[in-house]
């Protein structure tokens, strides 16, 4: 199964929910898709096509949060990235995919913690990385994160934004 086969299969099944397909190299493609349809896409790609879920990258852009769901097909060395755009900056929310593949368990926890993106129906979104006294509602990997104030020697004493 080459990249074209995978893209054709996606195009056939989800014609209306795909906005753009961008091939950056013969083995890598980015597919802009409808964020509301993410679970159906992932079921099709993981269960039907048998791609390996690689990771989810969150990117803070001007238009909102981009979530890139990376999938790999090892037999032909293809990497496919689904791009879901969440325009709502105050409460970005998307459906969880942990019901489909367990591999997303920690990934969603991490993104929730560092970007403040909510995963609907994901029950395990506890703190994974940040200290216990980290202030609520401060997400360090967002672009509007204000680093904590530093004293004259470059030390900070409080976590999160000053």
């Amino acid at each position: 199964m080459t990249l074209d086969d995978i893209l054709a299969s996606l195009d056939k099944r989800f014609k209306d929910s795909i906005q753009k397909i961008e091939k950056t190299s013969p083995k890598k493609a980015f597919v802009d898709m409808d964020a509301a349809k993410i679970t159906q896409f992932v079921i099709h790609i993981f269960k039907d096509l048998g791609l390996r879920p690689n990771t989810i990258s969150a990117v803070d852009t001007f238009g909102g949060f981009e979530l890139l769901y990376h999938f790999s097909y090892d037999r032909s060395g293809v990497t496919l990235s689904l791009r879901a755009l969440l325009k709502d900056r105050t409460e970005p929310t998307i459906d969880t995919i942990t019901g489909i593949t367990r591999s997303a368990w920690w990934i969603e926890r991490e993104i929730h913690e560092l970007f403040g993106i909510n995963f609907r129906d994901n029950k395990d979104l506890r703190t994974l990385l940040l200290p216990d006294d980290w202030p609520k509602g401060v997400y360090p990997l967002r672009k509007d994160f204000i680093p904590p104030k530093r004293d004259s020697r470059g030390h900070t004493h409080k976590p999160g934004a000053a």
């Binding site: 890598k28 591999s103 990934i107 216990d132």
Partner: protein
């Protein structure tokens, strides 16, 4: 009557080289649940990298993890090279492969040593660490440092392997292989280790796929993946080697995979040194245009994934790093449940966890009853090995 008790392990615990906190919920001898709290190692490298230039980011990612300090930079430069569309000179590709394989050798050897320690085989621990020294020496000769090599660069490598170094590398590799043969015999032919490791912590193929396990953890369960073959990079397509897989999925299979992989690595290094062409070692890269790049490479623990988004400035706009342990770790919960407490340590060690890479885990709840104190867990594991040994001697 079921009585559940919680064993808190960590964050500072002799079992672990790095700080992390585990809560093992046990019912008698059986583990029924496990929860992990990491974060003792979280340094926010992804954010730091966004503030560095592309050249500096490579040094930043090198300090994600000391053991993978050759793998993360390769993944990072590959992602940048994909955006900038650079052709890398042949010689540089071979040097990259050599560095990666040397790293795999010392990482697997280090793992063997630690696994031996958890099982009460301190001789294996000492051997493992002694026999990885030739590799550290080669690294020091070639790159100038025992760890944190600083050799990767966008467009090539920073230092060349001198002609004079080749015989030295080969002679040290011979020395290493001889010791590896001995160690392999000592581990794989030992009936006690067979009794101790076979059938322990089995990860089935289906589960490995569901959890998207990577590297030796997946290959020991029969999932035939290896980024070196599937996503050809560096000089791997130019040399002949095999991907090692096992079917059982238990701790023993993981050990076998790692030991046999070391032989493949030695093989790759020898071929690379032999076939390495002359020529420049780096291509000039002027600037990095806006775009997205993905770097996938096979680190000693599994596939390492870097995603870089550039907006045309000289620093990455987003740098996502997914280390192999992040995916492998979730399998630990799956494999440890139902096993005995004395096996928990070796099952955890079998995935070769690296929290520095994962950089992410609960405060000791004093209300929970403490069954075992910290170091008791290693003792328990070592005790079990001793009992099996005695039993075998009696037979």
């Amino acid at each position: 009557m079921s009585h559940k008790a919680t064993i808190p392990i960590g964050p500072y615990h002799p079992l672990q080289e790095e700080p992390e906190f585990y809560k093992l919920v046990v019912e008698g001898e059986r583990v029924v649940d496990v929860d992990v709290r990491i974060g003792y190692n979280h340094r926010g490298i992804e954010k730091i990298s966004e503030g560095k230039s592309f050249d500096q980011a490579i040094f930043a990612v090198e300090r994600i993890c000391g053991i993978c300090s050759g793998s993360h930079p390769i993944a990072c430069v590959q992602a940048i090279e994909e955006i900038a569309k650079v052709e890398i000179p042949e010689r540089a590709l071979f040097i990259r492969s050599i560095i990666q394989e040397l790293e795999r050798l010392h990482s697997h050897m280090l793992w063997l040593g630690l696994a031996g320690h958890f099982l009460g085989y301190n001789t294996i621990f000492m051997w493992g660490w002694k026999y990885r020294e030739p590799i550290c020496d080669i690294m020091e000769t070639v790159t100038g440092n025992r760890q944190n090599y600083g050799i990767m660069k966008v467009g090539g490598v920073r230092r060349d392997i001198e002609k004079e170094h080749v015989p030295y590398i080969l002679s040290r590799l011979d020395e290493f292989t001889k010791q590896l043969d001995m160690l392999k015999g000592a581990i794989l032919d030992d009936p006690v280790l067979h009794a101790r490791l076979k059938g322990v912590g089995i990860l089935t193929k289906e589960k490995a796929i569901d959890y998207a396990a990577l590297g030796p953890t997946a290959r020991a369960s029969g999932v035939d993946i290896d980024a070196r073959r599937d996503y050809p990079y560096a000089a791997y397509p130019r040399v002949k080697w095999n991907v090692i897989t096992q079917k059982e999925g238990d701790v023993f299979a993981k050990t076998v995979v790692r030991i046999l992989e070391m032989y493949e690595s030695v093989n790759i290094i020898r071929q690379c040194l032999d076939k390495m062409p002359q020529g420049p070692i780096d291509a000039k890269v002027k600037d990095v245009p806006p775009g997205e790049g993905i770097g996938q490479i096979e680190a000693p623990r599994g596939e390492c994934f870097h995603y870089i988004k550039s907006d045309g400035t000289n620093s990455p706009m987003r740098h996502k790093i997914r280390a192999p342990t992040f995916m492998n770790f979730a399998t630990f919960r799956e494999t440890v449940i139902g096993e005995t407490v004395s096996d928990a340590t070796i099952i955890l060690a079998a995935i070769d966890p690296c929290y520095c890479c994962t950089e992410r885990m609960v405060v000791v709840n004093s209300k929970d009853r403490e069954l075992y104190k910290g170091p008791d867990l290693i003792k328990l594991s070592q005790e079990k090995t001793r009992l099996i040994k005695e039993k075998m001697q009696r037979l």
